[in-house]
């Protein structure tokens, strides 16, 4: 029963129901109706967010006391101003001399302060849109907020990514999951595509992919140096997805040269050329957000829902004998296998820590003992 407490899991499913809630950060207009069929770039909802503000030191500009500010304003709170329009004025020498405070931007006068002598101007609202992200059907609308889009799809989670949502056709670029993706494998035909490589992607390859206009890269591993060169800075915490980068990168195994899992590679290969939506956003906390590859499969729409629906039972059941796992720490990092035993008593491992362990039978036939904390379950 307690096994579940330790084990993170990654999904790798050939057929499942993927449901995405597409919501505005603040309330707005929903542009789709329940039942609408949408493309990945269909706009689902739209709103406007508050514009930037500018603070103008009116008292300072006019040379008046702070408490006099509102007396010299030509525009009152709530009124609109145009850029470079005089919004405050003082006359001196019987009106012969005039001094103005001009609006630095167009917007609305939000506050006139007689305590600080400052005037705050709010710029116009900025539109904000949310698209469907995946091809599918709007199965529910959320009034003033957005919609839930659903599709049968293949669904694969990576372990780490950078870059946000991108859409494009999948394109396999290496012959096997153990080959590195280098600049040689990237040509002009990769424009607009999501490239799939094997064990590693080099920075040269990333740069070439950007040059030819690829949308994304999915690969087993990357050296931290190459990631740093790509981003232009070092990552300190794995909270990603907001980077201002031209393509999204997803790694499926980890840092360093790491062959992509055979099954992940085969699954991606099966859908070579198909439309996919990817998101590199990663947020590593308990209850993690991992990067994802969604390959909509509308041809499965007629299949029974029950056969496809992800009931979340796999992770809930936790580790059991027979559960497929990947070892995620030395000395067996990257090895795949199944749980063979789950001994209850704590066991002392090489580091001399007393931990809860499991015995695993690896794909290469070895039987090994590893801390339960050092495996992840693979949901297929």
């Amino acid at each position: 029963m307690s096994s579940q407490a330790y084990t993170p899991g990654l999904k790798r499913k050939a057929a499942t129901i993927v449901r995405k809630t597409r919501m505005l950060p603040i309330q707005g207009d929903v542009l789709v109706k329940k039942g609408d069929v949408v493309e990945a770039d269909t706009i689902v909802a739209r709103t406007f967010i508050l514009g930037d503000v500018q603070v103008v030191n009116v008292a300072g500009l006019l040379g008046i006391d702070l408490w006099e500010t509102s007396q010299y304003m030509l525009r009152k709170e709530g009124e609109e101003v145009e850029k470079e329009e005089p919004m405050a004025m003082i006359k001196s020498f019987f009106g012969l001399f005039k001094r103005y405070a001009f609006a630095p931007v167009s917007g609305t006068v939000e506050r006139i302060s007689d305590i600080t002598g400052q005037v705050i101007i709010r710029e116009s609202r900025v539109p904000l849109e949310v698209d469907a992200y995946i091809q599918g059907k709007a199965v529910e609308t959320l009034p003033n907020e957005g919609a839930i889009i659903e599709t049968p799809a293949a669904f694969i989670q990576g372990i780490f990514g950078v870059g946000g949502e991108k859409k494009g056709r999948l394109m396999i670029r290496t012959g096997s999951p153990s080959e590195a993706l280098t600049a040689r494998e990237i040509e002009s035909e990769c424009n607009g595509r999501i490239l799939v490589g094997g064990a590693l992607v080099t920075n040269d390859a990333i740069q070439k992919a950007i040059k030819v206009g690829a949308k994304g890269i999915v690969v087993g591993g990357i050296d931290d140096d190459d990631l740093t060169s790509f981003l232009g800075y070092k990552i300190g915490v794995a909270i990603t997805g907001q980077e201002d980068i031209p393509l999204t990168l997803i790694i499926t195994e980890g840092f360093g040269e790491m062959a992509m899992s055979e099954k992940t590679f085969s699954l991606l290969k099966e859908f070579d050329g198909r439309h996919a939506s990817i998101n590199g956003a990663t947020q590593i906390r308990a209850g993690v957000m991992r990067p994802e590859i969604v390959i909509p499969r509308p041809e499965l729409a007629k299949k029974k829902r029950g056969d496809l629906e992800d009931k979340g039972e796999f992770l809930e059941k936790g580790l059991l004998p027979g559960t497929p796992i990947r070892i995620i720490r030395e000395p067996y990092f990257g090895a795949l296998g199944v749980v063979s035993k789950l001994p209850v008593p704590l066991k002392t491992v090489e580091s001399e820590s007393d931990v809860r362990v499991l015995e695993a039978e690896l794909d290469d036939g070895r039987r090994v003992i590893v801390p339960r904390a050092n495996v992840e379950m693979i949901e297929e």
Binding site: M1, V55, L227, I235, V237, F255, E350, S351, N374
Partner: protein, 617 residues
């Protein structure tokens, strides 16, 4: 979401409480600690751990809490969980608990922004108040911080703090600048991180003359609380009222909007406390119990909290970017690869080390299975402690802006005035908590990490939290101080030993001489060469009288080169005679450095033989 219930104190009398459950919902892991009254005293019985489930896809903290409790149930056979919460009170020997308490730093803990007028005065005091309340300070804003108003507004909008603390102006002093800050905050229209429809709590603890205009600007759109000025006069800092109201608002406005906390708050009759606040209470307890100057550290997965209780001044800092799992690569980034590698005694390519740490960052719940992995994590920990303490010293310094009568000598000592008031020679205790320290397979490993990270000088007791329960005992102490202190003394505080380390650097061949009168009255005479370290066993609870004669130029608290006599208490490691010098400098030459590390590790019997075999030594 149901409105938060105002928790009330437990209805049972303290003496009736026999079974206690305490949990801490950490950023990575939720940890349950189960206590019972055995005979006349409260003792720790069992623990359970499970990943925290605040974030997607679970978004309900109670799932993780149930999982950790399940583990306790499995280990003890004691039934605790009810279908919708926790069984209270206890029935018989194997069912229910009489008291359930919890701390939380899940979902990033309490994230605050603070603002003041002058950066080094009221803004710094506000920062200390927020940190003291257990918050992570996302930004410190001040009128003189060099940023333009639009930059500040942009920053406030971007940060989305859980709460804002505004200070500024001594009572009767500046009003304009205080109001200016309020105007900027209002212009930014900040939204709280959790529960976007709720009002953002703002605490005003500044010039009382500014209260009316501040209310006018902020009262409508925010949950504004006004408390006593935290810097009523420049010479005095009064952070207590602000700290208390932050705790109240943390419960009412922040916790109640975090996923699942509405349920969790109903499970416990005691307000949920931020984890660092719980931890801080226990470090303060050490200082109070032993009338000592104490440095405490909570080395967590996401953050490093450093606490100092120095001559009755309590300061907490949090290095929100330094941690041993999520933020392990921030330690790498801030310390640099070379500074981490310098603590590793075997061949370790820098790029391999970086990839290894990046892999830990993306799989933060994994634990070292091999000795190499363990040594690498301990290397990172030393740097996290060092950097966390450097950060701490920037805030543990005298109040700025205080008028002082200055002499010519003071002018020359201006630099010293700007520096921390913490003098390591007068620190009596260094104590640590957090998963990595508590789970170190040998206590000598924790001892070395604390010594290398903090570099205590003179005579310093070392202690650590046995299985990470200081936050639990901290929140428990608010309702049952007796149980909290009994468990703290007997099951939580592990006395590692005493570190004797002269300040200063000696020359090769010079020695520190130590005469020790052991509990059986035998006398040991030890000589430790400069650059070496040695361990003398002295068990927990045993006392010995030592006379220390440092190497030439070394100071153990009596002045340069002077002897010191002191009575010390032992620990699980014993007496650590550290003649490596302060500051501690590792040899530049690679082989010599590795050899020294192995020599030190062996001297303390810190790691298994396999490590030395691997290093070929």
């Amino acid at each position: 979401m149901t409105p938060p219930r105002t928790p009330s104190k437990s209805k049972m009398k303290p003496e009736e409480i026999k079974v206690i459950l305490a949990t801490d919902c950490g950023s990575t892991t939720s940890k349950a600690r189960f206590f019972k009254k055995l005979g006349n005293e409260y003792r720790f019985v069992a623990s359970g751990e499970a990943p925290t489930t605040v974030e997607a896809p679970f978004e309900d903290v109670t799932l993780g809490v149930r999982n950790e409790i399940l583990e306790v149930e499995e280990l003890t056979g004691h039934k605790i969980l009810a279908p919708h919460g926790i069984m209270t009170p206890s029935k018989g020997e194997k069912e229910g608990v009489d008291l359930y308490v919890t701390t939380s730093s899940a979902g990033g803990g309490l994230q605050m922004m603070v603002a003041g007028v002058v950066k080094t005065m009221t803004a710094e005091s506000a920062e200390r108040a927020a940190l003291g309340a257990g918050a992570i300070v996302m930004d410190v804003m001040a009128v003189d911080d060099g940023r333009r108003p639009y930059q500040k507004i942009g920053r406030i909008r971007y940060l989305r703090p859980d709460m804002i603390l505004m200070a500024g102006g001594t009572d009767g002093g500046n009003v304009t600048h205080v109001v200016e800050t309020a105007e900027l905050i209002d212009a930014a229209k900040p939204r709280p991180r959790l529960g976007i429809d709720f009002e953002l709590p703002i605490v005003f603890a500044g010039n009382k003359e500014a209260r009316v205009p501040i209310e006018k600007i902020l009262d409508k759109a925010y949950a504004l609380k006004i408390v006593d000025n935290l810097r009523p006069v420049l010479e005095f800092e009064n952070t207590g009222p602000a700290r208390n109201v932050i705790h109240e608002l943390f419960m009412e406005h922040v916790m109640s909007h975090a996923p699942g906390y509405d349920k969790l708050m109903k499970w416990t009759p005691i307000p949920i406390m931020p984890t660092p606040a719980g931890e801080g209470r226990m470090f303060q307890a050490i200082a109070k119990t032993y009338s000592a100057n104490v440095i405490g550290v909570g080395l967590g997965g996401a953050t490093t909290n450093v606490y100092s209780m120095y001559e009755d001044k309590f300061v907490r800092t949090v290095s929100a970017n330094l941690g041993m799992s999520y933020s392990i690569c921030n330690v790498l980034k801030e310390a640099g690869t070379k500074n981490i590698v310098r603590w590793v005694p075997f061949e370790c390519l820098e790029e391999d080390l970086r990839n290894r740490l990046y892999n830990k960052m993306i799989r933060p719940t994994t634990i070292p299975q091999t000795v190499e992995d363990l040594v690498v994590e301990h290397a990172v920990a030393r740097e996290a402690l060092r950097l966390g303490f450097e950060h701490h010293k920037l805030l543990a310094r005298p109040l700025r802006g205080v008028q002082r009568r200055r002499t010519i000598a003071d002018i020359f000592e201006q630099e010293a005035f700007e520096e921390t008031y913490i003098d390591m020679l007068y620190i009596d205790w260094v104590a640590g908590t957090g998963g990595l320290l508590s789970h170190a397979p040998r206590r000598a490993q924790s001892a070395l990490m604390l010594i290398d990270g903090f570099q205590p000088e003179g005579v310093t007791s070392l202690a650590q939290d046995s299985v990470f329960m200081m936050p639990h005992l901290g929140v428990l102490s608010t309702v049952h101080p007796k149980a909290s202190m009994e468990i703290f003394e007997k099951d939580c505080l592990v006395r590692i030993g005493v570190c004797i380390a002269p300040r200063g650097v000696g020359k090769e061949g010079e020695v520190m001489e130590v005469a020790i009168r052991m509990p059986d009255n035998s006398c040991l005479e030890e000589q430790v060469s400069f650059g070496s370290i040695k361990k003398i066993p002295l068990k927990e609870g045993e006392k010995a009288e030592v006379e220390i004669l440092p190497f030439r130029g070394g100071d153990v608290g009596q002045g340069s080169g002077k002897a010191r006599k002191v009575v010390i208490e032992g620990g699980v490691v014993g007496i650590i005679l550290d003649a490596r010098g302060r500051p501690l400098v590792l040899p530049d030459e690679d082989n010599e450095r590795k050899q020294k590390l192995i020599e030190w590790f062996k001297a303390l019997d810190a790691y298994p033989e396999r490590l030395y075999e691997m290093c070929g030594r």
